[in-house]
């Protein structure tokens, strides 16, 4: 295979990988702060895309549509946290997880009613032309996807590493009890993280909508693929979640090119299953789990 095709596949894979990375970060942040796998993560991407595409088709200015879509994502995350996460923090984990699933179903069902079954396309932010890069022909929109992702990542990592708030978020992820002793209010941190994850997902959806078009059920795929990135990245650090998410995007794209375009759809799901089975299987000889609590 020649370099140009490789570049083509890799770079377009990188583009969808950006979405998966943002979803994966959302999963990791929410899980580290609240303990649950937020199954609604993928739906935020769908919301971002479909709201923007819908508003644009109603002749709203692009900038306004984008702002509304991202804000809506943040609000949804916030509302989800306040109404369905905070009240049942002490409930068994499987219950919390099922509630999160219910929220995801609710969001996509509302989207179905409001926007209907058909996918919404929309033009690229600065048009639908393509550009040449390293031999690959990519839509101009890809620049926005990369840009938005890079911007979000930069802001997130800077925030986590250098600000008081970021330290507080990391502290809650490491040891919630000790964090409370510092005067950190877990509820507020949790709200913030969910809102940020919602916004991140929506932003990703906004950026990718011109390329993949948005429909009421597109959240499912984004959710599973983002989750795969998060779990291969270890579900602990946003950095590795990003790397894994990008990797999944590229793997998908390469499979489409080198195997078949149908394979693309399920290669990620297969990777997820195999990864989990191998991770569990390594301990098949019944070894010991490293204890989480360290007691002397």
């Amino acid at each position: 295979m020649d370099f140009a095709t490789l570049a083509q596949l890799t770079l377009s894979g990188l583009t969808t990988g950006c979405v998966y990375a943002l979803v994966a970060i959302g999963f990791v942040l929410c899980a580290n702060v609240s303990g649950i796998v937020n199954f609604a993560q993928g739906e935020y991407v769908m919301v971002g895309g479909i709201v923007t595409a819908g508003l644009v088709s109603m002749k709203f200015p692009l900038g306004v549509a984008i702002v509304i879509a991202v804000a809506l994502g943040a609000v949804l995350g916030l509302v989800q946290e306040r109404l369905t996460v905070a009240p049942i923090r002490r409930a068994p984990m499987f219950l919390q997880a099922t509630v999160a699933l219910g929220v995801a179903v609710l969001i996509r069902s509302v989207a179905l009613v409001v926007w209907g079954k058909d996918p919404y396309g929309m033009p690229g932010f600065i048009g639908d032309d393509a550009f040449l890069f390293l031999g690959a022909l990519l839509p101009l929109q890809a620049l926005f996807v990369w840009g938005a992702t890079a911007l979000f990542l930069a802001v997130t990592f800077w925030l986590l590493k250098y600000t008081e708030l970021g330290r507080a978020i990391r502290a809650v992820a490491i040891n919630p009890r000790a964090a409370r002793l510092m005067g950190i209010e877990i509820g507020r941190i949790s709200m913030l993280v969910f809102a940020a994850s919602g916004a991140a997902g929506a932003l990703a959806g906004v950026a990718i909508a011109p390329i993949t078009s948005a429909s009421w059920d597109s959240g499912l795929e984004f959710g599973v693929k983002g989750f795969t990135g998060a779990i291969i990245g270890g579900f602990r650090s946003p950095f590795w979640a990003t790397v894994a998410g990008l990797g999944i995007g590229m793997l998908e794209s390469l499979s489409a090119g080198y195997v078949s375009s149908e394979a693309k759809d399920i290669v990620t799901y297969g990777v997820l299953l195999l990864y989990l089975m191998i991770r569990g299987g390594v301990f098949a000889l019944g070894g010991r789990a490293t204890g989480a609590a360290d007691q002397h």
Binding site: E164, R167, A168, R170, A171, I174, N175, R177, A178, A179, R180, L181, M182, G183, I184, E185, H296
Partner: protein
């Protein structure tokens, strides 16, 4: 003069286990009060109750005249109480400096000066921490971690400092250093409630002491008096007191009744 911290008849616990039963205790400004007790006696539960991590089922906790029993932990920290918890509980994957900065998160007057000044003060007090300030907290030795935990609590500018078993797992030399540091804190005007199993060291620096047994205060008084007390000696100082020997003898006598089936 009303005490800075007043715990009145508190009954508290976790879920089904009511660990504390009608505990009363007071700490006046400027003194070191120590709370002794065996494992399972409820010492940590008491500190958790003061900090609002556990809600008292009955009784009240008052700080500087204000009832704080119903307040959230963040509000209590803002009012000037800080806890260095049992086993340090530092944020291991974060650096020493980040840990200290987190200590300043909830401090009183936090919209005021940046925590830099507080940070420097702690580094002056614990020069070893300045050396290690960029290292991950989990890579520090036990003694250094304890210093970091105390420094982190002090970053909150507390009026009352709660210390939960600072001597836990530390070498005797380290224990001496830590206790010296605690004494210095009191000399500087601090008020300290010290929970400890190492009775000798604790009674050595405390003004007053309480003994907690199965959730109830069984003894209290000036530290010097408790040092002389034979019951305390028995239980905590490895003494050869009559009551402890007596139980031991009784148990040994029973052993004869139950020969091993071979």
């Amino acid at each position: 003069m009303a005490a800075l911290l007043e715990i009145e008849n508190v009954t508290a616990g976790y879920g089904r286990n009511q660990v504390l039963h009608g505990v009363s205790l007071a700490v006046a400004e400027g003194e070191i009060v120590t709370l002794l007790g065996a494992n399972g006696a409820g010492k940590t539960t008491l500190l958790d109750t003061v900090m609002g991590l556990v809600r008292a089922r009955a009784g009240a906790v008052a700080f500087a005249g204000e009832t704080i029993s119903a307040l959230a932990t963040a509000a209590i920290v803002r009012r000037g109480i800080a806890l260095a918890p049992e086993r340090r509980q530092l944020f291991g994957a974060m650096s020493v400096e980040e840990n200290l900065l987190l200590g300043a998160y909830g401090r009183a007057g936090r919209r005021a000066a940046s925590p830099r000044a507080d940070l420097d003060a702690q580094y002056r007090r614990f020069p070893r921490l300045r050396e290690r300030r960029r290292q991950l907290a989990q890579s520090l030795s036990g003694g250094e971690q304890q210093m970091a935990a105390i420094a982190r609590a002090l970053m909150a500018r507390p009026r009352l400092l709660l210390l939960d078993e600072p001597s836990l797992g530390l070498a005797p030399l380290m224990v001496a250093q830590i206790f010296q540091c605690i004494e210095e804190l009191r000399r500087g005007g601090g008020t300290i409630l010290l929970v400890e199993q190492n009775a000798r060291a604790a009674l050595g620096i405390a003004d007053r002491a309480y003994v907690l047994e199965t959730g109830r205060i069984t003894l209290s008084g000036p530290a010097s008096a408790l040092l002389e007390n034979p019951a305390v000696q028995d239980a905590y100082l490895g003494g050869q007191g009559s009551s402890s020997r007596a139980m031991e003898e009784r148990i040994r006598a029973r052993a004869a009744l139950y020969p091993v089936r071979r």
